[in-house]
């Protein structure tokens, strides 16, 4: 197993972690066909934290599901480096019949990690997300934020090189979300993971991303790509983050107005 620290070395590898070429996805059949994604070209660099930003229903989750292998593209090419990516959803989707430790151990069991290694690694991961004392709790005994931290530990336990996050903090209150942003940034900088983070919240994108990819709605297309050079660790209320968030908000509004002028372009 690759330890947490040795992976930082991969940061600089030039090969993209995820590459997407001319990817399209049509939902439904016959009359109800909707072009959800249209000709997406995207490269996610190794170790990058990329945010997919878009209004609800713009196909950002569809794109994430395609990268996760949970759905097949209608056409186009998709390559993910290092096998099955780990995925985190808005709902923690922990298994309610397992304890926190058993949940975190689950992906390792699936990958045949030996029991003593599993135990040690579960301890490390629970420490990483500050849940040491909760190994034997069950998901329903945890708060929403603790459940998402358990889900993060479980995703990290998979030892994948790419972590896909589908609005993972969307259901949490603002205070808790700030805290989890800090934790995610810390975990990401320690592990050298590549993260694709889907959100509809411009502030969240500005807080987290190395690069923000803005998607337009119906059909989902890449409308804009913005590199973010704000120094880390960032604060959600810093002037740079606020300024960028305002810019992203304006850009999103423009896109929504434009797509309202050209109503749904069906395939």
């Amino acid at each position: 197993m690759i330890s947490l620290h040795s992976r930082i070395a991969r940061h600089v590898t030039p090969e993209p972690a995820v590459s997407v070429r001319a990817l399209s996805r049509i939902h439904g059949r016959g009359e109800q066909r909707v072009l959800a994604l249209d000709g997406i070209d995207l490269e996610v660099r190794q170790g990058e934290l990329l945010c997919l930003l878009g209004a609800s229903g713009c196909g950002k989750s569809t794109l994430l599901h395609l990268i996760a292998g949970l759905d097949r593209p209608t056409c186009g090419e998709l390559r993910v480096c290092g096998g099955q990516p780990a995925v985190m959803f808005q709902d923690s989707a922990l298994f309610p019949w397992l304890t926190v430790a058993e949940n975190v151990a689950f992906p390792m069991e699936m990958h045949g990690v030996a029991a003593p290694d599993r135990k040690r690694r579960v301890r490390e991961l629970l420490e990483l997300v500050h849940l040491e004392g909760f190994a034997d709790h069950r998901p329903h005994q945890l708060s929403g934020g603790m459940r998402q931290r358990t889900a993060l530990a479980r995703a990290l336990a998979q030892d994948a090189r790419v972590l896909l996050m589908d609005e993972p903090f969307g259901a949490l209150d603002a205070m808790l979300r700030d805290r989890l942003h800090d934790e995610l940034e810390r975990v990401w900088s320690r592990t050298g993971l590549t993260i694709v983070f889907v959100t509809h919240n411009p502030r969240e994108a500005a807080r987290l991303a190395d690069r923000v990819v803005v998607l337009s709605s119906r059909p989902g297309r890449i409308a804009d790509e913005i590199d973010v050079a704000i120094e880390r660790p960032r604060r959600i209320d810093s002037p740079e983050v606020s300024q960028l968030a305002a810019r992203l908000t304006d850009r999103l509004k423009e896109i929504i107005r434009a797509s309202a002028r050209n109503p749904a372009e069906d395939a």
Partner: protein
């Protein structure tokens, strides 16, 4: 949520005890009412029974009152007759139920995994489930004569469909997200079913087992009344003899035995399993 609950090191100290451990004050009252309410119901039932007897609607040798029936039950208990009969009947029930669980579960797995099997069988299974199991007895007697095999045949046919249907519908109600998460974590094929889908469906499956048990118990009682073997004094055979001898006290006493076994299995076995499953998942209403 309280903002302090988000501090990483001391998250929500107050919540640690909820869920599994109960609130020390509430249960005393609820435990009392959970015992007293059924007792009141039993008392009212006995009173109504006695009232009917007092009204002299039927002569007492046809409908005896609670007192002589209870005395009779007590003497049957003391002489060990109840235990001997219950051993035979419950032995049959257990064997039939185990076979029904094996058949019903494999059928349910096949139906929930293979679309073809499901399309082919769902109508038939639903029909079988509504079919009163007594209907099978004439055929069972033709096929297996009067004997254990015939009884087991009917128990399995009575119980297996509802166990299969229970499993299929429980699997249908598993949130797709759990299955998706399982797949992204590397669980595939039968492992995905065994480690994710089945545990997620367990509460529904247990509900199906409980219903299956009720069906097999009913089929067994019908069976013991119809296919009765003189050398095996089962509960059904006792009922049969009591009727033949116009022994109304014995008849009612043995009916109470049947009812009691039903209640005990439902509450003590299935009730307990369901309760602990729900408590572990945080689904119980009372804490």
């Amino acid at each position: 949520m309280h903002p302090l609950a988000t501090l990483p090191k001391t998250p929500e100290p107050g919540r640690r005890l909820t869920g599994v451990t109960a609130d020390p004050e509430a249960p005393v009252a609820s435990r009392w009412s959970s015992w007293s309410a059924p007792l009141v119901a039993i008392a009212v039932g006995l009173l109504l029974w006695q009232a009917v007897v007092w009204s002299a609607w039927k002569p007492e040798w046809v409908l005896p009152g609670p007192r002589p029936v209870m005395l009779r039950l007590w003497s049957e208990l003391r002489s060990g007759e109840v235990f001997a009969a219950a051993r035979i009947t419950l032995g049959r029930a257990a064997l039939g139920f185990v076979i029904a669980v094996l058949c019903g579960t494999s059928l349910g797995i096949a139906m929930s995994k293979l679309r073809f099997v499901r399309n082919a069988l769902s109508g038939v299974i639903a029909g079988l489930q509504t079919m009163p199991s007594v209907v099978w007895f004439p055929l069972a007697i033709l096929l297996f004569q009067l004997g254990e095999t015939g009884i087991q045949f009917v128990i399995v046919l009575g119980a297996a469909p509802s166990i299969a249907v229970g499993l299929v519908s429980a699997v249908d109600h598993v949130p797709p997200l759990l299955e998706r998460v399982g797949r992204t974590m590397g669980a595939r094929g039968f492992t995905l079913f065994r480690r994710v889908v089945f545990p997620a469906a367990l509460p529904g499956y247990v509900a199906g087992l409980k219903q299956g048990w009720a069906f097999s118990w009913r089929s067994l009682m019908a069976g013991e009344l119809m296919v009765f073997m003189a050398d095996k004094p089962s509960i059904g055979a006792r009922l049969h003899f009591a009727r033949e001898l116009s022994d109304a006290e014995g008849l009612l006493a043995w009916m109470i035995v049947v009812l009691s076994i039903g209640i005990v299995v439902d509450l003590a076995v299935f009730g307990r399993i369901e309760h602990s499953l729900r408590a572990r998942r945080g689904l119980s209403e009372e804490r």
